[in-house]
């Protein structure tokens, strides 16, 4: 094999040369130690009083069990390990049923809901999940069994995160819809109370439900009353669609955006759906722009790197910041499918902006390479650019709308002025969850 200094598959590309339909070719993947993003265990724990049971191979079990252990929830998770023989001896379903029954009998209490996770190999082997859920439900009529999926091999068909964000509502039962009840669905954290989104809902007399508010299973069940389900995270769309199909309410998807026109369109959709007047957002816009101006005055021309785990639309945030005079030089992301306009704008107006792959094997050495001082937005950007000046949020941090932009701008200012303990913060799994570390 010929040896050259040119990487076979470079870890970055100029946006001017990037194809939005496939920024990087797929290949081997590296896993950077930035652990803030949630996994399906964290998400399942949002269901109050739920017990999680995983049936999968030891290698897959390990990560989920220790996720629960680190968040002090080991007593809410049990498991059934699967061996090679189990896959071929004709006992695929009965082994799971027997294992779940044994666990329930040993628990010492009856959880109102059991989230039962199967894995890639079960689906590959054609497991009959309906039979499993059916038999368990017949044996334990006081328990809601919800089918859940740890199926990363199928991630290009339905992502496990998106599916889990939907399945956490699987134990809801039909209730009469209440037109004055609204739910935000598909998120792993509550939406900022200062957001225009929450204000519009509350100030117009609606009751707002969110699984992140629910402390008891009874409270959780009330979510089924929502006549309107709102999703704004890409992985929340399936949850909204399925709730609409099951209970008949409406689902509106008003995606998180950093584009002022899109934000306003989202609020119009919301107000039309709720049947309320559209507020005047001029003051909110001004406040957002003022915060950006204040941030720019302090951050100056410090180069900025944004990653896709911090915000769901990193290219839109990059465009907004560039329009406000910031020097955004790097985006860590491997797709931009939901934000083509921002991508194209950056191609034309910031052609030198570099897009870095979050997982390319050549990213391994990147933190050790010399970097200029960077303000990072997101944990992966902080790790790769070895910056202690970083905004420590995931999935928009619960922020939304004009107030969300204002708060992210304020966080940028704070990040620039106050260095963080990068190593300690990045090692914590599931940002916002308890941790024993």
């Amino acid at each position: 094999m010929s040896v050259t200094n040119t990487p076979d598959r470079p870890s970055f590309v100029k946006i001017a040369d990037a194809d939005i339909n496939g920024i990087f070719p797929s290949g081997l993947e590296y896993n950077p130690p930035a652990r803030g993003m949630w996994n399906i265990v964290h998400t399942g724990m949002l269901v109050p009083e739920a017990h999680e049971i995983f049936a999968c191979a030891q290698g897959c079990l390990r990560g989920v069990i220790l996720t629960a252990a680190e968040m002090f929830e080991l007593d809410r998770l049990s498991w059934i390990s699967v061996s090679e023989e189990d896959m071929f001896d004709g006992t695929l379903e009965s082994d799971i049923i027997d294992g779940v029954c044994e666990i329930i009998e040993k628990l010492g209490h009856r959880p109102p809901v059991v989230l039962l996770y199967l894995s890639c190999i079960h689906l590959f082997a054609g497991v009959d999940f309906d039979v499993i859920i059916g038999e368990l439900s017949a044996k334990y009529p006081d328990i809601h069994f919800v089918d859940c999926y740890m199926t990363p091999t199928m991630r290009t068909t339905v992502s496990p995160v998106m599916k889990m964000s939907s399945q956490i509502y699987g134990a809801l039962q039909p209730l009469p819809l209440d037109k004055k009840c609204v739910a935000i669905v598909g998120n792993d954290r509550a939406t900022d109370e200062d957001s225009e989104l929450v204000r519009i809902i509350r100030e117009n007399g609606f009751t707002l439900y969110d699984i992140a508010y629910c402390k008891t299973f009874e409270e959780y069940l009330q979510m089924a009353k929502a006549a309107v389900n709102i999703s704004y995270i890409p992985t929340g769309v399936l949850a909204g669609d399925e709730l609409k199909e099951r209970f008949g309410g409406e689902h509106i998807h008003i995606p998180f955006s950093c584009d002022f026109d899109t934000i306003e369109e989202n609020y119009k959709t919301l107000c039309d759906t709720l049947g309320v007047d559209m507020p005047d957002f001029e003051e909110d816009k001004k406040a957002a722009l003022q915060s950006l101006k204040n941030a720019k005055a302090i951050i100056g021309d410090t180069p900025i790197a944004i990653d896709y785990t911090a915000v769901t639309r990193p290219f839109e945030l990059a465009r907004l910041l560039c329009e406000q005079g910031f020097d955004v030089r790097y985006v860590v992301a491997d797709s931009a499918g939901a934000e083509p306009q921002a991508f194209e704008w950056l191609k034309i107006n910031r052609p030198e902006l570099l897009i870095y792959s979050p997982v390319n094997v050549n990213m391994l050495e990147m933190p050790d390479e010399p970097h200029e001082d960077i303000l990072a937005i997101g944990q992966k950007a902080a790790y790769y650019f070895a910056s202690d000046r970083f905004v420590n949020i995931i999935v928009n941090g619960g922020y939304y709308g004009f107030s969300g932009i204002r708060k992210i701008a304020d966080l940028m200012t704070d990040a620039y002025l106050n260095k963080k303990d990068r190593a300690q913060l990045l090692r914590l799994k599931g940002m916002g969850c308890a941790s024993c570390l």
């Binding site: 094999m1 040896v3 990487p7 076979d8 598959r9 797929s26 290949g27 081997l28 993947e29 590296y30 896993n31 130690p33 999968c56 191979a57 030891q58 290698g59 897959c60 079990l61 390990r62 990560g63 069990i65 220790l66 252990a69 680190e70 080991l74 007593d75 049990s78 498991w79 059934i80 390990s81 699967v82 090679e84 896959m87 082994d95 027997d98 294992g99 044994e102 666990i103 040993k106 628990l107 894995s119 890639c120 190999i121 590959f124 082997a125 740890m150 990363p152 091999t153 199928m154 991630r155 290009t156 094997v361 050549n362 391994l364 050495e365 050790d368 190593a423 090692r427 799994k429 024993c436």
Partner: protein, 378 residues
């Protein structure tokens, strides 16, 4: 059921054992997996991930590639990464999905080696077994691949089975010091603080010290191929390290194996739960330091010669729980996450084991080599 656990974790899996064993040797390890193995390994099974770079990657297998048997993509991706990384060798291992599709590691390794010109080692993990099995195969194959006949050196010792899954970082330094203090020369501490050059020189040793069962298969290979006898044991406590050093000299002199972890008398009012070589060595140390006798529950694959008569091999939660209920020990020494299944009236001494509780008790890890038991057991 033996494969059900209400609360206690499982041990690190075979693929993590491979990655851990090969971490410092300058190769490139590829786990054929969709996702998950990489984050699990690098988060929970690998304390060096943020401290020391190593070329350990996953293949990012997709549903379509699995169903279509698209091994060409895997081969091309590995060859591409090898072009960029120029590793000393390539190791391939896998997860449950390749097991389902019947992925042929041996054939694919040959193809990758032909295309890349880099030695490629197939390792046959499937994510359903323990780290011991993965690390064991990895250490065996790397020794097979790199150990070269060479002249014997006086009092030279190989240490085998040393990975952070069983021992805190820095144990390699501590064990080298202990060996030096007792008049030995350390050839190799496979595979912590080590290199391929040291592996090449392993046949120069006169004895192999196996400190976890992960190192046993490689030690057996060195015995079968180069006539190097095996001693099993970990130098713990005050008296036992001196006895173990004596066992090393005895094995060298007589050219015979000495399973010195098995010399304790099983029984007494203490139960030790864990990896066989370590746990049984600890039982020996308790006895040598006149702290009573102990029975070992070996929770991972092992060889019965490593354990004393009366020690037991149990891995299922229900079996361990029942054994403890019946045994009624006054004290249990184990990883803290075993506490959930220990009878409430039983005293419990924490001995965190990274391969079991991962990072949960990381801050409590401390060097155990050649140290007094009261400093190790809290």
């Amino acid at each position: 059921m033996k494969n059900v656990s209400k609360i206690i974790p499982c041990y690190a899996a075979d693929s993590s054992g491979v990655c851990s064993a090969l971490y410092e040797l300058g190769g490139m390890t590829v786990v054929h997996d969709a996702s998950g193995c990489n984050s699990t390994y690098s988060t929970h099974d690998e304390p060096r991930w943020t401290k020391m770079k190593s070329n350990i990657f996953i293949s990012a297998l997709t549903e379509l590639d699995a169903i279509m048997g698209n091994d060409d993509k895997f081969i091309a991706d590995v060859v591409s990464a090898a072009h960029d990384k120029q590793p000393a060798f390539i190791a391939l291992c896998g997860s449950p999905m390749p097991m389902m599709t019947g992925f042929d590691y041996d054939a694919v390794a040959l193809e990758i080696e032909a295309q890349s010109g880099i030695k490629t080692i197939p390792l046959h993990t499937n994510g359903t077994r323990s780290y011991i099995e993965g690390a064991s195969e990895a250490l065996l194959e790397v020794v097979k691949a790199y150990a070269q006949p060479c002249e014997k050196r006086d009092n030279a010792v190989n240490v085998l089975g040393l990975t952070p899954l069983d021992f805190p970082l820095g144990t390699d330094t501590a064990i080298k010091k202990w060996l030096a203090d007792n008049g030995f020369e350390c050839v190799c501490t496979l595979a912590m603080g080590d290199s391929l050059d040291n592996i090449k020189a392993m046949p120069s040793a006169k004895v192999s010290l196996v400190v976890s069962y992960s190192g046993f298969a490689a030690a057996q290979y060195l015995k079968d191929t180069y006539g190097i006898p095996i001693v099993c044991g970990v130098p713990l406590g005050c008296e036992y390290p001196c006895d173990l050093a004596g066992a090393l000299f005895w094995a060298m002199e007589h050219n015979e194996d000495y399973f010195y972890s098995a010399v304790h008398q099983s029984g007494g009012d203490t139960v030790i739960i864990g990896e066989s070589v370590f746990a049984s060595s600890l039982a020996c140390a308790l006895e040598s330091d006149r702290r009573g006798r102990a029975t070992v529950i070996s929770t991972l694959p092992t060889d019965e010669r490593i354990l004393a008569q009366g020690d037991v091999c149990l891995s299922a939660e229900e079996d361990i729980e029942k054994y403890l209920q019946d045994y009624k020990p006054a004290c249990v020494i184990a990883d803290p996450l075993y506490k959930y299944i220990v009878p409430k009236e039983t005293a419990f001494l924490n001995l965190p084991h990274f391969a079991f509780s991962g990072r949960c008790y990381e801050r409590h890890f401390t060097n155990v080599i050649d140290r007094r038991l009261q400093e190790i057991l809290r």
